[in-house]
Each structure stands twice: as C-alpha cells, then as structure tokens.
C-alpha cells in the first residue's frame, strides 16, 4: 500500500511534467468520451421514439389473435372467444391496460375519392392513452362510446378525400360470408399522428357500431395488453396466456414487429461497437503519449531500477499514469455530455427534416435519453482497454537493462 502511494505520487508528478502534452491528450480523451456518451444518448432517444411509436401503432405489448389472423387479417379470422366473455376475464385480472378491437381492411369513400384503410372498431374509453391517438389533440371530438355512430379519420386522409368534420363518408368492407358490408358514417373528428402515414392508414369507429356493420356479433379481431415496461413483457405475456383459452395466438410486440424487436437488440450491440471505434482512435494518441513519456525518461527509469526499484513497480507506475490521465479525461467528458443533454432534455425539434424522419417512422421531436448503463459502459470500456493499451509502453520501460538505460544518451 505504501509502495502504491509512492507510485501514485510519482505518476501524478510525471503527468504534469510535460503539461502541454498532457493537456492535448486530455482534450482528446474528453472529446472522445463526450462524443461516446452524448451521441449514445441521442441514438437511444431516437430508437426509443421509434419503438414507442411502433408499439403505440401495434398497439400494446402483447396481442391476442386468431392463429391465422396475422397471415390474413380479414374478418374471417376473428378471435374464437366471445368478446364479452374475454372482457370479463381481463377486467378481473387487473392488467395495467388492455382493450379488444375489431380491425379489418376497409375502403373509405367520399364524393371525390376513395382509399384503402384499416378500420378499427374500438372502445374509446378503454384505449385512452394506450395508442398513438392523443384524445385531447383531436379536431372536433373523439368517439364517445362503443355505440358512437360517428367516425374519426386522420387529418391527411380528410384532405385527400376532400371531406371534413360533419360530412358523411362511406366505409365498405366484407362480412365473414364475403358479402359486402357497408355503412355511411359522419366524420366527427380528425386526428393527428406523429407519423403522418398513420393519418392515412387508420380510421376509428365504435366497436359495437363496427360489429353491427360487419355482422360479426360479439366478436373481435384482436386484444392487446400493456405492461409497465416495454423492455420486459414476460409478466404481461404469461398473464395474458393464462387468461385466454387454447386456439388463439398470443404474441409479444417484438415478435409481432420483428423489425422493432431487432432494432432494440441491434442498438445495444451497436453502442458497444461505437464506443470501441472511438476508443481505437483515442488509443493511438494514448499509446503514443505514453511511449514518448517513457522515451524521455529512459535514464531516470534506469536509475530507479539501479537503485533497486522492482520492474513491476515501474510497470505499475506507467499504468497508473495512464489510468490517471484517462480518469480525468473521462470525468470531464462525462460531465460535459451530461451538461450538453440538459438544455435539450425537452426534445429537439427536428421538423426541418421531418419528412425524411417520417420515412423511417420517426417523429419530428427527438428526446435524448441518457442511461446510466450507457455511461458506465463507455467509461468501463475506455478504462479497461486503456489499461491494455498502456501495457506495451509500460512493459518496455520495466524491462530496460539498468546499465544500458543509465548510459543511454
């Protein structure tokens, strides 16, 4: 311990002997670690938004369908359990959030145009806050009950169809016998979505109204449940599995949308790669600095060896020097990254490039997400790899031949 104190003091003093070189190296480490952490926070934020948007469009963390529904999402493949029976079970189970809905492809027609859409027959009270629809941001009003005779469509769709609140449109779909099922609806509200593609893809009507139109009685196409954390859905999954009978398919969101699920996994791997790449660039500077420090002090090291200092202490001294340099750099870099995130915590408006972001299913506000584990990852990776990088110059210094070293010119 005593030896360590001496070594540490020696290392500390050596560090500031050539302070200009140390500062340059520090600047590099600070910049590098700042970039690692700050950029990670941005990327995390981006991915989280995409995933949350994706989950709210699915919607839910776990979904229940007829086994064939996902291959053929038609009205023929309804959940083979009456909705009222299922609802009673789910209501008693105390889930955080759940809802059942009718979801069928349909055609919406106005006087001037028609479009293919997905018709959602929903229970508006039950779905509040679970989907991408913000009930308070609706023009006009949102649906009020499962029997609501009106329909809510996207703002963009309304423009395409040249219709507006208060006008009637016709929804056409098919009933389970392949007969045409259609009905006129009055548009009661227009919704806005972060992802404008949703505004053209979905229309919302009351669940009972839709069931009546499609002549499917007390049946629905899907049921979804939401848990506390989208990263961990095992609890909800097993709960839902217990509630439904055999003969239905229960899937979690990362199976339902494999792209989203993969994205989350790839992100973790990608961050490690990103941190290592930045470190590699840093390591050249670090090794170079240490090698220079060793070269400058060949005679001094030789003297210490001649006086009886053990080679492993020389090794330790150089490594401590390197770790000190890295630690100072990392502390400053991490602090700067944290500071940089503060002013943009409320989200960065990237609406200038909103159209491009839209194509990726991203919303136009970016919320950086600084996770403790990402910060730790970056710091640990730099320290551990820094340790290994400094081994080589340290090893060289420890193995000088004292006589040769002292006499070296």
């Amino acid at each position: 311990m005593h030896m360590f104190a001496i070594l540490a003091r020696l290392a500390w003093r050596n560090l500031w002997r050539n302070h200009r070189r140390t500062f340059i190296m520090l600047a590099a480490i600070v910049l590098g670690s700042w970039a690692m952490i700050f950029m990670t926070a941005l990327m995390r934020g981006m991915v989280t938004e995409v995933i949350k948007d994706g989950i709210s469009a699915l919607p839910g963390h776990v979904q229940v369908h007829h086994p064939k529904y996902r291959d053929d999402p038609s009205v023929a493949n309804l959940i083979p359990i009456p909705d009222s029976e299922m609802s009673a079970k789910f209501a008693a189970a105390g889930l955080k959030g759940w809802a059942s809905r009718v979801r069928v492809p349909a055609v919406i027609t106005s006087e001037y145009d028609s479009r293919g859409v997905t018709l959602l027959g929903i229970d508006p009270e039950r779905e509040r806050g679970l989907t991408f629809i913000d009930y308070d941001e609706i023009d006009g009003r949102f649906l009020e009950s499962v029997d609501d005779p009106g329909i809510v469509i996207g703002r963009k769709l309304a423009r395409t169809l040249e219709t507006e609140i208060g006008k009637r449109i016709v929804i056409m779909s098919q009933d389970p016998d392949n007969e045409i099922a259609d009905r006129g609806f009055r548009v009661v509200g227009l919704f806005t979505a972060n992802v404008t593609a949703f505004e053209e893809a979905f229309v919302f009507a009351g669940k009972s109204t839709t069931q009546k139109m499609l002549r499917i009685g007390d049946r629905t196409s899907e049921l979804f449940a939401v848990g506390d954390d989208y990263r961990n859905v095992d609890a909800v999954y097993s709960q839902v599995t217990e509630l439904v009978d055999a003969g239905v398919e229960v899937k979690s969101w990362f199976e339902l949308d494999a792209y989203l699920g993969t994205m989350l996994k790839v992100m973790d791997g990608f961050l490690l790669v990103w941190v290592i790449v930045i470190f590699l660039a840093l390591s050249f500077g670090l090794v170079n600095t240490l090698v220079m420090a060793v070269f400058e002090r060949v005679r001094e090291i030789g003297l210490m060896l001649a006086l009886g200092m053990k080679p492993r202490n020389i090794l330790g001294q150089i490594i401590i020097e390197s770790l000190m340099l890295l630690t100072i750099g990392l502390v400053i870099g991490t602090a700067l990254a944290w500071l940089a995130v503060q002013p943009i915590k409320e989200g960065i408006d990237v609406s200038i490039v909103a159209e491009g972001m839209d194509m990726w299913g991203m919303s136009s506000v970016l919320y950086p997400e600084l996770l403790l584990r990402d910060v730790i990852l970056a710091n640990v990776v730099v320290l551990v790899l820094g340790f290994f990088a400094s081994l080589s110059p340290a090893w060289r210094a420890a193995h000088y031949e004292p006589v040769e070293a002292i006499t070296k010119v």
């Binding site: 492809p105 349909a106 055609v107 027609t109 106005s110 006087e111 001037y112 028609s114 293919g116 005779p149 219709t163 006008k167 009637r168 449109i169 016709v170 929804i171 056409m172 779909s173 098919q174 392949n178 007969e179 045409i180 099922a181 259609d182 009905r183 006129g184 609806f185 009055r186």
Partner: protein, 268 residues
C-alpha cells in the same frame, strides 16, 4: 349490370326546358303544397314507380356503350339480361377482343369473368367504387342502383310542365347510415315514369356528376330513355353514353341464366 340497365332505363333524356330550371329553385314546402293541391302522388311513390317502370319483371336487351375521353373514344356492344330487382347478367359482344367478358350481379354482389384468363372473380368490396369496364359508371352504380328507393328520403322540389308532360323534380337525401357519399341527389321524373336526369351533389351542394337522358322513345312496348350520358361536371370532355339498341320486357328467363357457371360457360 343491373344498375347499368337501371341507369339506362332510369334516366330518360332530358331536354330540360328553361322552365323547369327556373322552377328548380322553389322551396320544397311551397312545391309540396302545389303537389298536394293537384292531388299528386308523394315523392317516394314517384321514384318507386319510375324504378319499377324501367325494371319490369325481366328484360333482355342489347346496348352500346361509348366511353369518351379527350384523346380517345371506344365503344362496346353488350347484351344484358335482368330478372327481378336483384339479378342481372351482362356480356360483351363487340369489340372482338373483349368478346365474352361478363358481369353478373346478384343482390349487391358482383362477379366478373374474362375468357382471356378463364377466371371468375368476385369483385371485392374494395373495388366496388371503381370504374365498371373502364366507363364513368362505378361497379356500385351497376350493382346496386335499387338503393335509391329505400335508402333515401324523397321530397318533391318542384312540379313543372314541358310539352304537355308533367315533370317532377325530386330531391333524394340519403339516410344517415346509408352507404351513399352524396349529400343529395336530384331526379327529374316525367309523369309517365321516365327519368329525365339524375344529378349527384356533394355535401356542400356542388354538382359532381349527372346522368342525363338524351333521347326518349318507345322500345319493347315501353317509353324509355334510348340514350343516356353519365358525365362528371369537372371533366366536361369525359363521358360515357349508353344507347339502347333493342330491348324486350317481361321475357321468360331461367334462374340458371344468372349463375356463376353460366357466367363462365354461356349456354344461351
């Protein structure tokens, strides 16, 4: 095709006189009074009579459809059979390359057959709004023209007289839940049940498209529209005309005529 025939029959030619145009502006109530005084039938029965008039119990007809666009025009000759208010079959006779193409309707459902691919296709609901055989009529126009009777509230807008014939102008407003996109439709029907024009208005009251009967005459023992034109108001140079070449009413048609197998393999 039912509707086609419907349409065909439904909209007798309209030589709208300035008179009726003038009268069209009258408030419905005032007009209703006039109608009541004259002891006229109510609006719904006028429409129903008109529909029954062109529908008959059954019919067998040959018609020519001309589709006109700014840079091209084509015409097709077709034979059509109808029975009751639900069943109809249309088969293309000319031009040669389209010969054998057929459309069968049965109670709002529609199937089409093309000998080139030798397949009967049920027209899915998603395509019911699309054009029928490339014309200005939609599949819906063809398959479900009957809806006009029971899916609307009818009222008489005006009663006028031209060349000694009384013309009723009737406003039809679709029921709240009817699968109809129009805000209202206005029909001009003569007292002899011939429909002169059928105008479709959007929900702002703008005229979108209209079907007019260009020629009225007697054929098959009835007074019917011999030539009708469907045109969108926005595109003046785009229209579809249907000319009745021959028609026979109340013919004896077997139910087997209106089957998928007959659509595919004609046995007539």
């Amino acid at each position: 095709m039912n509707s086609l025939r419907h349409t065909v029959r439904r909209f007798p030619a309209c030589r709208t006189s300035g008179w009726s145009a003038l009268m069209a502006g009258f408030a419905a109530i005032g007009v209703l009074t006039v109608a009541a005084q004259a002891g006229e039938p109510d609006a719904t029965s006028i429409v129903r009579d008109a529909v029954n008039h062109w529908r008959g119990v059954s019919s067998d007809s040959v018609m020519t459809m001309v589709i006109h666009r700014p840079d091209w025009e084509r015409s097709m000759t077709m034979r059509a059979w109808t029975k009751g208010d639900k069943k109809s079959l249309v088969r293309v006779l000319e031009p040669r390359k389209d010969r054998g193409n057929g459309t069968l309707t049965d109670d709002n459902n529609m199937w089409s057959y093309s000998p080139k691919i030798n397949r009967v296709i049920k027209i899915p609901s998603s395509m019911m709004g699309q054009s029928w055989m490339g014309s200005d009529f939609s599949n819906n126009d063809v398959a479900r023209a009957d809806d006009i009777i029971d899916q609307y509230d009818h009222s008489i807008l005006s009663v006028t007289e031209a060349e000694g014939i009384t013309i009723y102008e009737i406003e039809s407003v679709p029921h709240e839940e009817a699968a109809v996109v129009w805000g209202r439709e206005v029909l001009q029907i003569r007292e002899d049940h011939v429909v002169i024009s059928h105008r479709f208005y959007d929900q702002d009251g703008e005229l979108v498209k209209q079907l007019t009967s260009l020629e009225i005459g007697e054929m098959g023992g009835r007074l019917v529209a011999l030539r009708q034109r469907m045109a969108k108001v926005e595109a003046e140079d785009e229209w579809t005309e249907i000319q009745l070449d021959s028609i026979e009413y109340d013919v004896d048609l077997k139910d087997s005529l209106f089957t998928l197998s007959n659509l595919r393999n004609p046995r007539d």
